[in-house]
Symmetry: C2
Subunit: 263 residues, 2 copies
């Protein structure tokens, strides 16, 4: 087994580069993950891994996980504690890190299930929100997620962590032109809905949610663009008090739940 | 107007101490807030403020806000940019900071509305989750929030920010013994529910949600303690796929929505 004690080792530099740089992730089709649970989750979900880094202590504590990784052809390296500090991106690192290949869970727009339920995320910028939405979508059984180009990277470390591995298992599609995609789906008989914080009197509880549905959720600050709203049926979650809006991930949870609860 | 250029000024040290130290917040009954929106929100919500700090640029950009604060008796100070850097707790600081007095929005357990809807949060540890739950509870019109002693501080800067000011307006009560409080409410005819990630076959959709309801939501990792579950009717949100659970704030959003949607 390879032991890495230098923070300047090329594998370590490659890891931190992947962790911090979206363009490098895209270019190489790889991303990083951290922690025992995510590593186990990725292995079980069929994610192909390249290199796993364990500290001495982590290797002892998670011996079975380390062995499974080795058996699945992952190159396992032991890293010194100062190297682990360089790799860590969490507040309480467990000393377990890996580089992995992106899964191709992408689906083509013309392969969308006509009776399915999809969320279309426009420019969601907070990694915690994007990860939470993926996690909720998986738990509630949505068919897939559409992402506008302006969304934060689905393979960013914080998104992967907040998704609790849902990113490995959820079908998603990044589209260059979200309004055009929504319009196309609408033409194909899928109901396209737009969740607004206000400006409409149509309530979530008044919608007919049968059949295929795509619900568009907008950016945390700006909401949905007019171009998206124009090709959708707008609605709002009834709200009381002085609150002007809900957190994007909370709003998405309520809307996805309401669509799925009767199915 | 006072101008502060030294990072060691006692008012600056007081601010950072309040920002970083829960015990000091409790001891002095004060907390900090950052940003134009939160400051305006706090002033409108009747929060009594002590000192507001503006950078030169922020004072120019937010002149009206600065003036309103002064008119309401807040001591307004101008701070240099190096001082602002010391005060800032956000990634894109606006140069606006204030110390404020905690509002006494606490309600007594025997004053609980018998027909009201309450969430009881046990040991919620992530400030973003706690703030988001408060924001969602306000938007959906809950009557109030019970917090166990183990919850993260409701006046922590991240909680205040994530709540988008809901912390200023939501009735909440911190209880030393949450199971005892739930038991007492149950004895008074309020239905006590416990949201679990599994281990029960009773689904959220099968509950009778009329009348007074308190729903208990547990810690992000550990869930609810047995002591809480024992005095509640346990239920689960129906889940699909490999997801083992939902994020605490997403689960709370779904549950609070389901309880409120028919009211």
């Amino acid at each position: 087994m390879m032991e890495i004690t230098s923070r300047e080792n090329p594998l370590i530099r490659d890891y931190t580069h992947l962790r911090d740089n979206r363009a490098y992730r895209r270019e190489t089709g790889r991303f990083v993950l951290e922690g025992a649970r995510l590593l186990a989750d990725a292995l079980e979900s069929g994610v192909r891994m390249e290199t796993a880094f364990f500290t001495d202590a982590a290797m002892e504590k998670h011996a079975a996980l380390c062995q499974t990784a080795g058996q699945k052809g992952v190159r396992v390296c032991m890293v010194g504690s100062s190297v682990a500090v360089k790799l860590a991106d969490t507040s309480a690192p467990q000393g377990i890190f890996a580089t992995a290949f992106m899964l191709d869970k992408a689906f083509a727009l013309d392969k969308i299930k006509l009776g399915g339920v999809y969320a279309a995320l426009e420019d969601i910028s907070d990694p915690g929100n994007l990860g939470t939405i993926l996690r909720t979508a998986e738990a509630l059984g949505l068919s897939g997620i559409l992402l506008s180009k302006g969304c934060t990277d689905i393979y960013a470390p914080k998104v992967v962590r907040a998704s609790m591995g849902a990113v490995f298992r959820t079908a998603f599609l990044q589209v260059d032109d979200l309004p055009a995609a929504l319009s196309l789906l609408n033409d194909n008989g899928i109901q396209t809905l737009a969740a607004l914080a206000g400006g409409t009197t149509r309530l979530l509880t008044q919608l007919d949610l049968h059949g295929g549905v795509v619900v568009a959720i907008g950016n945390e600050g700006a909401g949905l663009t007019d171009a998206c709203v124009k090709v959708c049926k707008p609605f709002t979650i009834p709200m009381k008090g002085r609150a002007e809006s809900l957190n994007a991930a909370a709003a998405a949870a309520i809307v996805m739940w309401e669509i799925m609860r009767g199915r």
